[in-house]
Symmetry: C2
Subunit: 344 residues, 2 copies
């Protein structure tokens, strides 16, 4: 890989190099990169807006995160927020802060991941801001999406007797992070040809490094004619997200330990690291699965879902938020999600 | 001022503390902070989106920038981009990266400036992302605005014989920065009660520390029935912006040195620092004035404007981009704007 100092291109040159081959896909994108603003046409649909900030040393570690995957993930986590409203993502803006140790080739790698996610999910890159940074890499992405007003699902719509569902499985991204951290520590001081052995753990790495937003879950919900009453994506951990829905909907909940979906590789890794498996699944975070509630009358429809499963039910607020263990004990659910300010 | 470590609030506590008193003002804001996404209703209007990233040590120096002003400016520069499309700003998202040396009180100061700008320009804060950072403060703001399709003004619409206008005056923000830098260097090593003397220079400081987006220029253009053919805001410097309009419109230009608007304080400061005044006005940047072109037939209307003045005319592309000096020489316009990657 050749190395080009970013200063040889300058900001406008860099933006031009990064965006000139990108073709706009949505009719609603009237104007993308290259003016003061992007211009988006939504007619009668409602516009959704979400934004995420990813900082080196806080949200990612480049010693084990390929830049292409990082770009993909940065987009994916924003799309996930749009799907979590039952919307369709349409446009993103990407702002980058880039320190001197990064070359144009590095930033191209990052953008190749950004574009791969845009391509896969039919999203247009419409603007951004690119700057030098004093230290490290930072990525700030804003995503704009659309939804008809009656389709939008908030966190506040869960009602007593609703069923609680979650897509995919939980805890794998967290276990992937533990695995990467362990190998990083183990390889420190070894020669640079050291190759960590990740055989049989590919799923955990993929979940950590290249999460996919669950567009397929939204599609299946529509196919089955299910409109969730409340929904959000699982970024901080199931416990934390359940408490958000309970608080904003003014309800309580019971989830069942034996219903929490966990992949085999997650279970093996938890055992190997001597960690509590259910704690990892409840509090691990970064799963980007969808947590949603549906009316009790949708019970049969939900049972047919291939992408999600029933894990509990909504109760009256005064009954609190509890997990029912395998031996029928009730454990109060507490937010132990990942906290970027360090006090968990 | 008391000091609260941010970790005592945590991310959700901090967001809650920062946003709970903010009242939504626009009917189009269906949902602000507190869900996966903001929800914005634009009916038949077109949506505009712009984003800016401000990094400590690159875009601002906290030794002389009050946090409240920084928050105000961070919003102002985004609003300026929406006005530069002839649109009306409506919503912003604010993402912050905050290192350990900042307290909750610091961040409240920053937000008081953000809210002051929102209040003054009728804009809603609808979301964001807040995180710890390894070093320094960073602010990423995205602004959403609206405009009817036929009102939107791009950079690409300038035509041969159009008149070129600019609002306010140029170079003052740059001179304000020189003044602040000089005092910072002069005060280094002195005791902390040292008070720099800025008397008579207040305008320069205000232009650097608290720029105002030119909503009033847009209002006057509408009042006089002028629809610019091309428009952008002056953030990198007049030279750089003129070349953007020429390139994107496929035209050339002549601007007249004796028409460039310069404030008295800017001129005095340039003389004191032994700097070329016109160079500062053409290349200084951060003025956040509006540069626009109008058809020749609007000549009389433009002459009536209180907020802007005529500085030149658009020519055929092959005539190039030149400044006509006071002694009728022609100097080629080159972009020497501020470049965040350090190669000017």
């Amino acid at each position: 890989m050749s190395e080009t100092e970013i200063s040889t291109l300058g900001e406008f040159g860099l933006i031009d190099a990064l965006t000139r081959d990108f073709k706009v896909k949505n009719a609603s994108t009237l104007k993308g990169v290259g003016d003061d603003c992007a211009v988006i046409d939504y007619g009668d649909k409602k516009t959704l807006v979400t934004t995420d900030l990813l900082l080196e040393g806080i949200h990612f570690d480049l010693t084990y995160t390929p830049l292409k995957h990082l770009g993909y993930k940065a987009v994916a986590v924003n799309l996930s927020d749009i799907y979590a409203m039952n919307g369709t993502p349409k446009q993103i803006t990407v702002s980058l802060g880039i320190s001197k140790r990064f070359t144009v080739e590095h930033i191209n790698e990052l953008y190749s991941g950004i574009y791969a996610a845009c391509e896969r999910y039919g999203v247009d890159l419409v603007g951004g801001d690119t700057s030098a940074s004093v230290t490290g890499l930072l990525i700030s992405i804003t995503c704009i999406g659309e939804a008809a007003e009656e389709e939008i699902v908030y966190r506040s719509g869960a009602r007593d007797t609703d069923l609680i569902c979650v897509s995919g499985d939980l805890g794998a991204a967290y276990m992937g992070l533990q695995l990467l951290e362990r190998e990083r520590v183990a390889s420190a001081g070894l020669d640079k040809d050291f190759q960590p052995d990740f055989a049989g753990r590919e799923y955990l790495l993929e979940r950590q490094l290249k999460p996919e937003p669950r567009a397929d879950v939204i599609a299946e919900l529509r196919e089955l004619g299910i409109r969730p009453t409340a929904m959000m994506d699982v970024s901080d951990g199931l416990s934390s997200e359940l408490l958000h829905i309970c608080k904003q909907s003014g309800v309580g909940c019971r989830v069942y330990e034996n219903r929490i979906p966990i992949d085999y590789q997650t279970a093996v890794m938890a055992e190997e690291l001597n960690m509590n498996l259910v704690t990892a699944a409840m509090n691990g975070g970064e799963d980007y699965e969808l947590l949603f509630t549906v009316p009790l009358t949708d019970h049969e429809k939900v049972e047919q879902m291939k992408t999600a499963r029933l894990i509990g039910r909504i109760t009256k607020s005064e009954l609190g938020a509890y997990m029912v263990t395998r031996d029928d004990a009730e454990l109060e659910i507490r937010a132990q999600g990942w906290n970027a300010f360090g006090n968990s």
